[in-house]
Amino acid sequence: MDGFRYIDGVATVRLDDAACTGCGMCEEVCPHGVYAVADGKARILDRDACMECGACAMNCPAQAISVNPGVGCAAAILNGWISGSKPSCGCGG
């Protein structure tokens, strides 16, 4: 994603080194190259590239990844503030 960087220092993604089995699923599903696996362990290479989609945490069989996933969308967050609930794009689905 050259040329597109968003705000640094905010991504909530965390990787538990001890729990990681190095299976490589996180590296496979991440659309922004946040992870790299070497020597049987995943590492977070570029945390600030994370858009918190949650694909890595969802597909980690060892549950070694935590992230506060959601939609990076101002309208959704505004809806959430107004209705006092979780940010949503206003759909029932």
């Binding site: 960087r5 905010v10 659309p31 989609c53 506060n68 029932g92 689905g93």
Partner: protein, 376 residues
């Protein structure tokens, strides 16, 4: 595979108040598009499976154009279930996708020449990425469709290929537990599906990463605008009312003349935020969309002020500059929902900083503009 890689959650779904996702009911009604893509059927041990062709015709293109403008978006779905492309056998690959017709059209077009099975999930007519975020393109739905289609009888292998952008909704290891099929995540873009298969189901780093080229940004701008029509209409009504306020309490003539000018400024601000900012996104300075939008709006405002410099007094000129900056900044911030790289934590941080500034600029612009009427 996913077509809407550049469709953040809120971008493309509905022109109505809810910017995302549209319908909330399972896809049963309003499936009127089959005749544009169905092409006979294929016999399998699990029964007949409808066959689709790869041609994207005039009706599909008209449909796509309507979607880009947010017309009838909630109903643009195909029936979920299993489809055959070409002449697939028991060893043919299984491609899983969403039942948003725009997505389905791209998959059958880009997979042209392949003999493959296409398993369509019921994502309520929403593209892969948004549906994965919502959970409708999810583990449970994959297992349900695989089971319902009796896929284990149709194919001899036990692998399904999912678009990579479906991964936020699907736990591959849970799918295997739930229905015995292993999930392989394919490329982000449907157009890479053939190279992916030819490379032995290996995606190159380029196939794995999302990009956001100018054309992708441009096609998302019409729906940004149609989504803003209603709030913009209310804002215009308020502007016309305020425009009449002046030394003579309320003047219809002034309401018309000044109101028209104010609505033009509003429209220019919306264009700056919803079209100019998305197109110039990589080149506008700053990381925050509110900053990028504010700069675009301010710059266009300055051009407008220069153009009209003989006709405007200084409070009005300043009001025009501030209003265009504020409107464009706010509207541009909404484009975060359409991009494939903004994190919710980042958007929230940006909004907490930007909203008070945008509100303050709007109030000052309003005071200058209304106050200016009393100077004459």
């Amino acid at each position: 595979m996913s077509e809407e890689k550049s469709g953040g959650c809120c971008a493309p779904q509905s022109a109505k108040a809810s910017p995302c996702c549209g319908g909330g009911s399972p896809s049963k009604d309003g499936l009127r598009y089959e005749e544009t893509f169905l092409d006979g059927q294929v016999e399998t041990p699990a029964g007949a499976v409808p066959r689709v062709h790869s041609r994207v015709g005039r009706r599909d293109l008209v449909g796509r154009w309507k979607m880009r403008w947010g017309i009838g978006r909630d109903r643009y779905r195909v029936a979920p279930g299993l489809y055959a492309l070409g002449a697939p056998g028991a060893d043919a690959p299984v491609l899983v996708t969403a039942n948003y017709k725009l997505t389905f059209d791209v998959v059958r077009r880009d997979a042209a020449g392949l003999d493959a099975w296409i398993l369509v999930l019921d994502t309520l007519g929403v593209n892969v990425w948004c549906a994965a975020g919502e959970g409708t393109f999810g583990t449970g739905e994959v297992i349900r469709r695989v089971t319902e289609a009796r896929l284990a009888e149709v194919v001899s292998h036990r692998t399904i290929i999912l678009p990579q952008l479906g991964a936020p909704g699907v736990a591959a290891h849970e799918v295997r537990k739930g229905c015995g099929f292993s999930v392989v995540y394919g490329p982000v873009r449907a157009r890479d599906i053939r190279s992916f298969l030819e490379a032995g189901r290996k995606a190159s780093p380029a196939m794995r990463s999302v990009d956001f080229p100018t054309m992708d940004r441009l096609v998302l701008t019409p729906v940004e605008i149609t989504g803003l029509l209603r709030p913009a209409g209310w804002a215009a009504a308020v502007l016309f009312l305020l425009a009449g306020v002046g030394p003579g309490i309320f003047s219809l003539g002034a309401a018309w003349e000044r109101g028209f000018a104010a609505v033009a400024v509003l429209a220019a601000g919306i264009l700056a935020g919803a079209v100019v900012t998305p197109v110039l996104l990589p080149w506008l300075p700053g990381r925050a969309f509110s900053v990028k939008g504010g700069l675009a709006g301010g710059a266009l405002g300055a051009c407008a002020a220069m153009w009209e410099r003989g006709a405007l007094d200084s409070p009005t000129t300043l009001a025009l500059l501030l209003a265009m900056t504020a409107v464009s900044s706010f509207v541009a911030m909404n484009f975060t929902g359409a991009t494939p790289f903004t994190s919710p934590s980042g958007v929230e941080k940006e909004m907490r900083r930007a909203l008070p500034v945008q509100a303050a600029l709007t109030v000052v612009a309003g005071l200058l503009w209304v106050g200016g009427a009393f100077l004459h």
